[in-house]
């Protein structure tokens, strides 16, 4: 199914991997903004609830030639053949034709996890446990984002509540279009290295457009043809080469042998 329709905005991101030092500010800001709960004791890397996860990828050289890059990974906002939307039996995945944002409607989700299987980026997360915050922290939840319940899938939606706020502000001011400065996702805002550029990929004057088309920019698994709207950028050749080879989940964590992986 082709979900491409004429749209006004095409929000996307470019992440400069050479600037990312893996501090995790984006992951924490995302969790606070979107009321993602802290881990329960049993949670680990495989069953955690992180709309934005950061993988550590090495060039596999030996010390001191070894190099590492941190790869923030979250919903890549596939534009074509959006795999999660195609498989959802409940229409719980929705692509907004006016923004290009792939949204998730937890109220419709049955928790079948087909979308998780279909997502080539492992960027969807299942609520295995009831969300738990301490009593005081419950009062500190973002009032603009509804917490999700156990048994549903959730994922990054480019901080949809911030888009709504920007739209409200534009409407209040009598404008039909939002001010780009009013819509900045939490991860972009919090990045201390300014490694993430966010904007409208349809806007030829926006910095993101030239950055996305730079020869050092790439998309993960672009051969699948899903046209992700999240780009990565690195001047290092081995990092760019990794994009087509690997999913960024740790191979060791997945139990895949090196030979098999390259095989």
């Amino acid at each position: 199914m082709d979900t491409t329709v004429e749209k006004k905005y095409k929000f996307g991101m470019v992440i400069n991997l050479d600037k990312c030092n893996g501090c995790g500010a984006c992951a924490v800001a995302c969790a606070i903004e979107n009321n993602v709960p802290p881990a329960v004791q049993k949670m680990n890397k495989r069953n955690g609830l992180t709309w934005l996860t950061i993988s550590t990828v090495s060039n596999n050289e030996q010390y001191p030639q070894s190099e590492t890059v941190f790869v923030p990974m979250f919903c890549q906002q596939c534009e074509k053949e959006t795999p999660c939307m195609t498989v959802c039996p409940q229409n719980a995945v929705d692509v907004d034709p006016t923004t290009g944002i792939v949204g998730q409607v937890p109220q419709r989700c049955l928790g079948c996890r087909y979308c998780m299987t279909a997502c080539p980026y492992h960027a969807r997360y299942f609520n295995w446990w009831d969300p738990e915050w301490t009593d005081g922290m419950k009062q500190q939840l973002n009032p603009d984002v509804a917490p999700r319940m156990r048994g549903v899938v959730e994922k990054c939606n480019f901080c949809h509540s911030r888009l709504h706020s920007a739209k409200d502000k534009a409407a209040t001011l009598g404008n039909r279009e939002i001010n780009p400065a009013d819509y900045i996702p939490a991860c972009v805002e919090s990045c201390p290295n300014k490694a993430i550029t966010f904007g409208d990929l349809n806007d030829t004057t926006a910095p993101i457009t030239s950055l996305a088309s730079n020869s050092n920019s790439f998309r993960f698994l672009s051969r699948l043809g899903t046209e992700p709207k999240v780009y990565y950028h690195s001047k290092k050749h081995w990092v760019r080469a990794m994009a087509e080879k690997a999913q960024t989940r740790s191979r060791q964590a997945d139990g895949i042998a090196e030979e098999e992986f390259h095989g």
Partner: protein, 701 residues
């Protein structure tokens, strides 16, 4: 009729009913209803309602004191961000700061005075009234004659002056500070320069080259936003000299990998090249009182002579030194890993000496002089832990603030008298020191009380700001000021102790009367000269609604004499040890109670940073030991052993065990389940107060 109903008919009926039911709305409606029900059950929290407001304040989680903008719903903060265009933080906030509003509701928060029975790991804690606790502490102070010490974890605040006055009045007081990493090079410079240059800071914005000996410059050192801005501007080249491929090494322009524990040798080699290749200016030579002695001593540490131990090609060090001497301005600093212990005093002095030889002290783009804040006592030289006699402290009061750096309990314990000592903690949470205390008098948590943030630790000028409380203070907690007042009354110490607000208003009045510097206001990003403010009340109002006072810059220092107090002794060679454990951590994340539970996203759910109990080794070392990835092993040192999980990592140097001094997120951190950091407790704490390298073994469980 009934006889004609067969088993097959029943099965057909059941099957037909099920198929028919699927075409009815009933099952689908039930599914929807169950989804709606789960959305509304009590386990899904209800969101707060009310007006959204924004408040400016400052972080107190570490001495950087970054500015924050809090969004509040009905007065309760739900989001913290940096302040855009802030001259020092550049709008950034670190990960701990972003989630700082959770700290008051941390599961390990203590909101009532407690006493601990016994000092063993099996001890238990029980609630006690504040009066009884204070009576017992004062009684102990009266009945003993030994030293009374206060460990101030964020020195230079207004309360720090009260601590020092209190100790002075008791006539047997000892004022201690946490081992400071940002200021360690500055302290060593102050020690070598006469007369003392006073407060110093780093002029990173105007420097061309920064050489860091192990300091996590780009991973939470100093004011993190400032360091990131320096790196992103690419005005200064950053060279990291480190045995670890740290996050700073990864982000630096050049990483020089050295053998662990050879930082002093590398610094001596750089100094020797400066001398040998005549890079030391005549003006500098004349200011060094022992230049002949220094010249003859330094000759034995040429890069060629030290290469075998440092593991660095002599040409690399020579090129680096030539670059250092050729740039207009350079800064060489130490720092060491937040979990891995400070450098010993000799290493600090050698690194400080390079700055003095280059003439970087008192020069634009180097280490610059800054004025004292009006109304604050002039800075003092902290007592080095190595100068405190063992078993000399009878009463130790540990301030509740957090320096962010690890302190092994072993370091404190060896300074306490064996039998009669008493430890009082003012920590708002159970942490790795407070669980060893006899009395815990919890102070208000982060963002619960008014505090001063004095001079961002790395700033080139003096600064002053206020941390405005965003949360209601728990009524059972006690401000450290009030603890001092109560103890003074019981010990008949004559000391005038105002309330925190009176204390700070007085300081603000003196800053105003100083008529220096500017006020940077957060709401509009404007700068106003202090002279334009008509009264101290205006300054107070501005500071409590979101502003920072920034002093005028002074960079030039009048000429001073320098004594190169460097030891000629060869550092101990630890190469013979087959396996060396080095501890590594992240500022402010040594213990689970120092970070918001939401930081599980960084530790537990992504393994972006390692929790306590993870050790990393090189594949070569792993193969020698017969260890596979993710295998449970035992890490053993002469101080004990601990269960660890081994990760194989190509970025770790062969022969090194990189032990994570991280939080134990699933630990209860109660005396029955001793905190902390089990791996920190395995480190060898040396006489000079460091714990950088410990011989270790990895054994199969």
């Amino acid at each position: 009729m009934l006889k004609s109903i067969t088993r097959r008919d029943l099965l057909k009926f059941t099957g037909g009913s099920i198929i028919g039911l699927m075409f009815s709305p009933l099952p689908w409606k039930l599914l929807d209803d169950s989804a709606i029900w789960t959305q509304n059950w009590s386990l899904t929290p209800k969101l707060a309602h009310g007006p959204i407001t924004s408040v400016f304040t400052h972080c107190t989680l570490c001495p950087a004191g970054c500015a924050m903008k809090a969004l509040c719903v009905s007065g309760m903060p739900f989001s913290l961000t940096g302040v855009p265009f802030h001259p020092l933080t550049h709008g950034s906030l670190c990960v701990r700061g972003l989630a700082g509003h959770h700290m008051a509701y941390h599961p390990l928060r203590i909101v009532h005075p407690h006493t601990f029975s016994g000092k063993s790991e099996e001890s238990s804690m029980s609630a006690i009234s504040l009066k009884r606790a204070l009576d017992a502490i004062a009684g102990h102070m009266k009945s003993t004659t030994g030293t009374i010490a206060i460990l101030d974890r964020q020195p230079n605040r207004a309360i720090s002056e009260l601590y020092r006055s209190f100790l002075q009045q008791t006539e047997r007081g000892l004022y201690l500070t946490s081992p400071s990493r940002e200021e360690s090079t500055l302290d060593a410079i102050k020690e070598m320069v006469k007369p003392s240059p006073g407060p110093l800071g780093y002029d990173f914005e105007n420097t061309s080259l920064i050489i860091s000996f192990g300091a996590p410059l780009l991973d939470g050192w100093g004011t993190p936003g400032r360091m990131n801005a320096i790196r992103n501007s690419q005005r200064a080249k950053i060279v990291q000299i480190d045995c670890r491929y740290s996050r700073t090494a990864l982000q630096s322009d050049q990483w020089i990998a050295i053998a662990p524990g050879t930082e002093r040798l590398v610094a001596l080699s750089i100094a020797s090249v400066l001398e040998e290749e005549h890079f030391i200016a005549q003006r500098i030579r004349q200011s060094i009182t022992n230049i002949r002695q220094f010249s003859s001593m330094i000759g034995q540490f040429s890069p060629e002579k030290t290469a075998a131990r440092t593991g660095i090609q002599p040409s690399v060090l020579r090129m680096l030194t030539r670059e250092l001497a050729s740039v207009n301005s350079a800064i060489v600093l130490s720092g060491a890993d937040p979990g891995g212990g400070p450098f010993d005093i000799e290493t600090e002095r050698t690194i400080a000496a390079i700055n003095l030889l280059l003439g970087s002290v008192g020069k634009n783009g180097g280490i610059v002089s800054r004025k004292n804040i009006p109304g604050y006592q002039s800075e003092f030289t902290p007592i080095h832990w190595s100068n405190i006699p063992d078993h000399s402290i009878d009463t130790l009061i540990v301030d509740g603030a957090d320096s962010g750096y690890a302190i092994p309990w072993r370091l404190i314990e060896q300074k306490l008298t064996n039998t009669s000592s008493m430890v009082v903690s003012l920590s708002p949470v159970l942490d790795q020191i407070s669980v060893h205390s006899d009395y815990l008098l919890p102070s208000p948590a982060h963002l619960e009380s008014l505090q001063d943030q004095v001079a961002n630790i790395d700033a080139k000028t003096a600064t002053f700001s206020l941390s405005i409380p965003l949360l209601k203070k728990n009524e059972n907690t006690i401000d450290p000021v009030d603890v001092l007042r109560e103890l003074s009354a019981r010990l008949n110490v004559v000391l005038e102790i105002p309330t925190e607000e009176e204390l700070l208003k007085n300081k603000v009045a003196q800053i105003h009367s100083g008529q220096r510097g500017i006020l940077f206001t957060y709401s509009d990003g404007s700068s106003t000269s202090i002279r334009e403010l008509s009264s101290a009340d205006d300054l107070w109002t501005a500071l409590t609604t979101g502003a920072i006072w920034i002093d005028d810059e002074i960079h030039q220092l009048p000429p001073r004499s320098v004594t190169m107090a460097l030891s000629a002794e060869q550092p101990k060679d630890s190469k013979e040890e087959p396996l060396q454990m080095i501890a590594s951590g992240w500022r402010g994340a040594v213990c689970a109670s120092q970070i918001s539970p939401i930081l599980s996203k960084v530790f537990q759910e992504t393994e972006l940073r390692h929790v306590n109990g993870i050790v990393s080794i090189n594949p070569e070392t792993a193969s020698q030991l017969g260890v596979t990835n993710d295998s449970p092993m035992t890490l053993s040192t002469k101080n004990g052993s601990a269960a660890v999980n081994v990760k194989i990592d190509t970025t770790v140097r062969p022969g090194i065990v990189d032990a994570a001094i991280g939080p134990n997120l699933n630990g209860t951190e109660t005396p029955a389940h001793p905190v902390g950091n089990t791996l920190l407790n395995l480190c060898d704490v040396t006489n000079d107060g460091t714990w950088r390298i410990t011989p270790a073994q990895i054994l199969k469980v």
